[in-house]
Amino acid sequence: MRRALTVLVAAVLLLAAAALSGCGHAEFESGSAPDLPRLVAEAGLVVLDEGSAENRYPGGTSGAWYIIGHEGSDEAEAVVSVLRFESRRDRDAAYRQVMHRMGRRLPHVIVYTAGDAVVQVGRIGDFGTVQDLNEALLDAGAQ
């Protein structure tokens, strides 16, 4: 058991070195976030309403929200939030905070990182809409 503990401690030290070595400090290689209105259109959906608010996460540059629905309908099927950041480190830190903002299980949302942005699809009213949007986001390089 002591050997196992020693191995575990060594693993912890290695991980500490990796975590401290500057992971996530790089600027963006793949440019900015995907153009959400364009992606929405590509997915056969429409933006019913949109707006902006301050991005309060450290390193945040802008924040925008989009209410998504189907053409010819006023019904909101999802709300997409796009938070943009100065650096990948800032984006990844915000991603962690968005992902663990609740005690144990996330509310009904899907969170992506895409370019310099954290994209959150929430208040989902229709799975089909989200599937279409998901494919468009993944094709645009979201993860």
């Binding site: 575990l8 975590a19 309060r56 929200w65 709300v79 962690r96 144990r104 799975f127």
Partner: protein, 521 residues
Amino acid sequence: MAAGIGGTPAPGGSGAGPAGAGGAGRSIAKKATLGVFALAMIEVTAVLSIRNFPSMAEEGWSMIAWYLLGLITFFLPLSLVAGELATAWPQGGGVYAWVRQAFGERSGFIAIWSEWTENVVWFPTVLSFISATFAYVLSPALGNNSLYLVGTMLGVFWVVTIGNFFGERFSSPIATWGGIFGAILPTIVIIGLLFVSIFRGDSPAVSFSASALVPTLDMATLPFVATVVLIFAGMEMAGFHALDTRDPAKDFPKAIVLSMIGIFAMTVLGTLAIMWVVPAKELGLASGVMQALEAMLDKIGAGWLTAPMALLIAVGGVAQFSTWLIGPAKGLGVAAAQGDMPKVWRSHNKHGSPVAVLLIQGVIGSAFSLAFLLPSVNSAYWILSAITTEVIIIMYLFMFVAVIKLRYSQPDAPRPYKVPGGKAGVWIVAGIALAALIFSFVVGLFPPNVIKGIGPVAYVVILLVATFALSIGGPLLFWMLRKPGWVAPNAAAYLTGEEDAAAETAAAPPPGPAGEGGDPS
């Protein structure tokens, strides 16, 4: 490592907890120090989570109905069942002891192993939350600095771990004062700001209508039920402190009722306050508690309160972390003393603290905490997190089935507090919770859309296999390697805290293979 190893006999005296491995001669009698208030604060600290407020506030007025759903389907049943089990079997090990009473050693071990495993994987998210929140006291940008994150996460982890070596002398004040200043006080401030906003004549960010109170329940929103159910997880936490409780029969029910009402009222009002001030659309962009709070304080013109509130919430995070760190560890330490795990796991010190379990979980938790910070393993971490959420549901399933089973297998056992309504009552109460938990478990298997290269069926299979491997695989491995020497000579004392039990156990032959020992002390 632990004072308990070697079992040096010690003269009887108060303050000594369950003896260490092999410590048959050590005094088991310990001074019970916890009363109603201390127990209630353990519950409040474990369950009340301010960081849930902004996400729930996004739901608008329907959040009240969602909370009520969580109350009826899980929080109330869990409180009632924990009350009955904790008063009827006020033993060391909490959930472990209760499930063991109902289904024997193996099931008890699986239950506590499941809770402990979930905990260890969950720790990094709490530590990271504490770290990012505390950064707001100094400079929010600090929260994005790797050196600061690693330093605070590991620092808090090990300070709290070592602090818990001192048993209730550390954990009880941390829960009490941390709960008061880190959970209750900031929630009261948030609720106070609601009244400030009302007195200023601000109109609510979300307009009220009767229909807005009713949540939309359809296939798309049903998964949210699974989220709401687990918001109130943790009411079993006080049960781990049964041996430290002055009068479990009287104190547990009072503490559970007191804390349940307090937690629910503060949760609803705190969420209402944020919802009242910050528009839901903006909350989507400020869903972290500090971002939402900052938005709220700015709107009310009290931005200067951001840093003090961050300090309080970080303190609350540390207290919550400490409560979850020691509770399941105590349970696992008791299971180890019954021979479920190798000797080293059962080492307790003179304060009754399961030092070996604390050290092992410290090392594993540290590794997870560091891996959590590596972007390349982020996705893997979230899958692991999803798995462990399923694993803790397994623990709760055991607990609710146990309360039903015990009504039949031990109908005459003294129950100072009982779930009302006789057997029908317990079936209804536990049945509602079981249905909610099974639903939550199934929903947890739904594949998120973002995982590339894994089909939905493959994802479900992977998650199921991993869930059962984690919850049952670990215990199975220990049983395969099990040796008679793993049973502590004073094994029963870890459950009862009585010296006589220790002597009896020391004199008795070691029990047979695990799983057959369905006769808990």
